[in-house]
Amino acid sequence: METVVALGLIVFKVAFLIAILLLLPLPLTWLERKIAGHIQQRMGPMRVGWHGLLQPVADGIKLLTKEDHIPAEADRFLFKLAPILALAPPFVVFVAIPFGESISVRGTEITLYLSDMNVALLFVIAVIGIEVYGVIFGGWAANSKYAVLGSLRTCAQMISYEIPMGFAVIGVVMLAQSMSLLDIVRAQADLWNVVYQPVGFFVFFVAGLAEAQRIPFDLSEAEGDLGAGFHTEYSGIRFALFMVSEYVIMLLVSVLTVILFFGGWNGVLVPLPPLVWFVLKVAFFVYLFMWFRFTFPRYRYDQLMAIGWKVLLPLSLANIIITGVAIS
């Protein structure tokens, strides 16, 4: 009986998480278009529903009913596999992400995480790396030069930015003496890591921007020079899968930034429920992503590489050394 209840709880949590992650891109697209509109003194979507709130639903229906086109010369197997490969890892990563300690519902304690892995951080960084295969396969299988160029750029960009990203979190791990995300948050109960690790935060956030392929690092889908980059040839539901994956990764990077550097669900001053604090912080970073997108121009390709290798990598290495010296 005990195991059945525990199992049922886990299944329920997984289903709940997947539903949230699948549905969240809808309001996020709406928000992004609204922010884009208002930054450019437009209004954004206004006509479907109140202030265009139903616009994402309309878009979703449109994408679902559109022709699912596969180019004649495409590698059909890889072409169909790529969106799934791009979508699955960001979802899998959320298995290791804690959203809070626990809440009690009618006497039973329910933990707000699926699993408390002792190597959660390693798991996250490893699994998120798989996502790049979806992008590379998608660009390669479409047999189109724009798509191939886009996926080549993504490949180089991911490799160059995952290294500083990995190094940047080492400082946090050293401070918390643990790779468990839960322990990392608990270690920040008094003072957030961003105070100890401003450089680590900076490197992590910039690398996260590159990882999520958002402006100013959205080289892989640069509309201006590549059509749409790796998903140029995708249409209909497969394109929608790429979009969902992009938004989930954006969310993931925000969540990770909050957990690693901004104290997770630890609040300051205002006593709010921990989950509310967490959501507020994540929302702020999501907003920051969108705000960046409509403020900054895109970096040139060589500048992207120069930032990755000449700035972020030395900074993250120096951060590790200085943290080590300071701790010992």
Binding site: I35, G37, H38, I39, Q40, Q41, R42, M43, M46, R47, W291, F292, F294, T295, F296
Partner: protein, 188 residues
Amino acid sequence: MSRALDRAGTWIGWAFFADLANGLALTFGYMFSRSVTMQYPDKEKWLPYARYRGHHFLKRDEAGEIKCVACELCARICPCDCIEVVPYEDENGNRHPAKFEIDTARCLFCGLCEDACPADAIALGQQYEFSSFSSRDLVIGRDDLLAKPGKAATGGGVVAARLNTQKDVLVETNEPRGYNWWRNIRRT
């Protein structure tokens, strides 16, 4: 000295992303500024200035008689040859148009007809919404031209509007042979 200081300041600012922060502040300000979008045709629309050359209209004099004396000067000067006037004489011996048609599908809204008119009978108004599903509907007859709104006293502002529903638009669905664009060109 001051130049060196300037340069040092620039470098310090650069290292702390002063330029990026400036950009962010600018877009943040714009984010909460009033948007310039006019919600046409849902809520509001633009009423053009009085000098705007929109849909033609024919004027009446104080007695309510049509001002046009059917001199056909407008038809002569029209570069697109899109006005057709057929005169008649009423019981007082005054000439008036029996038929006055403007093919707005061909009209280029140059306003020459307004300038040429000796009787100040024709003018171009501010109305600009007269698209149609059939080009035949764009041939406007005399009575329609008389009924068109004249110049508004004001202009250059936003007025409340609402989307024209389908029933306001004349739809010609059964056009058996297609519209003959050259029907109205008179060979001289």
